[in-house]
Amino acid sequence: MEQQLSYFEKFSRAYLAVLEPADAQHVLLAQIATARLAMDQPLDVTASLATAQTHSPELLESVREIAAANVQRIRDEATDPDLALLHWQAARGLALSALLGLCPLSEEERNRLFDRLRAETQKASEAPSGST
């Protein structure tokens, strides 16, 4: 699980580095891209989570700490922080439900929703504050 976290953190940083300066909400866009990448990985999330919940709760604490830092940055970058957090949660919901095998959507639908999520995030970035 630690290795997986480290891999996704590296991907997220690399993604942030190549975003265009014109792109607003960099952290949210990177998080959406990272969730999309995670969804396609052959990860045994179930076993990792079951083990961590019972035997290594400190691992979950580190996941929450990383996520809390991202939440703060996502809120800071957004003109509409609640909408930005919902976009972030949608990306996490898509990835996590797919990894757990609980997603009711097809792969094609998930990819389309990730595209829409990115487009909605960019649209929200372009709108003036309070009118997204």
């Binding site: 179930t46 019972t54 609640d82 909408l83 949608a90 898509l94």
Partner: protein, 200 residues
């Protein structure tokens, strides 16, 4: 002695005991010996009632499912006429409710996934049927599905202990997801952020 209410009582006691074991020791700790110790029911009685570990998990999931289906029906009965997308709103409300029972739902689902993912096939079929209804009720099906998966994200990350959000933040986000008026008819999402500052 064939006594349905007694049988039901022992079934409920076994389900409660299974949740305690799953919380304490994880899916691997759920054995008939452990269940007998925790519930006070003889191992023979438990074997007669359930037959296998998978059957215990199945009973656990069915118990959860009954509760949430009843909750969804009550929600729909109370507000169905006012909802633009009733299936979507009901699913979001059910996911919000699932957070109120954090250990039981998460443990049951994780245990089922570890033991045998096929145990969740009933739930998956119902989820797929609900998703089809959500699409058919929506003006913009993709926005409706994004609202649904955002609710999945809030619920799953909370239930699995991965969410950094406070209860207040989650409640505000669920409220926003349930508020049809916040999602524009042209298909774009919109939110009117509350003015209060939020710190983690």
């Amino acid at each position: 002695m064939d006594n349905p209410s007694r049988s039901e009582r022992s079934r409920n006691a076994a389900i409660k005991a299974a949740l305690v074991i799953l919380t304490k020791d994880g899916p691997a700790g759920l054995t008939f010996d452990a269940l007998s110790r925790e519930s006070g029911i003889s191992k023979g009685g438990l074997l007669h009632q359930f037959g296998s570990k998978a059957a215990i998990l199945k009973a656990l999931l069915a118990h959860q499912q009954e509760y949430f289906e009843a909750f969804g029906k009550r929600f729909l009965a109370a507000s169905g006429d006012t909802l633009a997308e009733p299936t979507l709103s009901t699913q979001i409300a059910v996911l919000r409710e699932s957070i109120n029972q954090p250990n039981s739902v998460a443990r049951a689902i994780l245990a089922a996934l570890v033991e045998d993912p096929d145990l969740l096939s009933d739930i998956s079929r119902k989820d797929q049927a609900n998703t089809r209804k959500i699409r058919s009720e929506a003006k913009d099906p993709d926005i409706a599905l994004l609202r649904l998966v955002a609710a999945h994200g809030l619920a799953y990350t909370t239930l699995l202990g991965l969410s950094p959000l406070s209860e207040r933040q989650r409640e505000r986000l669920f409220k926003l997801l349930l508020d049809d008026s916040r999602w524009a008819s042209d298909g774009s999402s919109q939110s009117q952020p509350e003015s209060e500052p939020e710190s983690e």
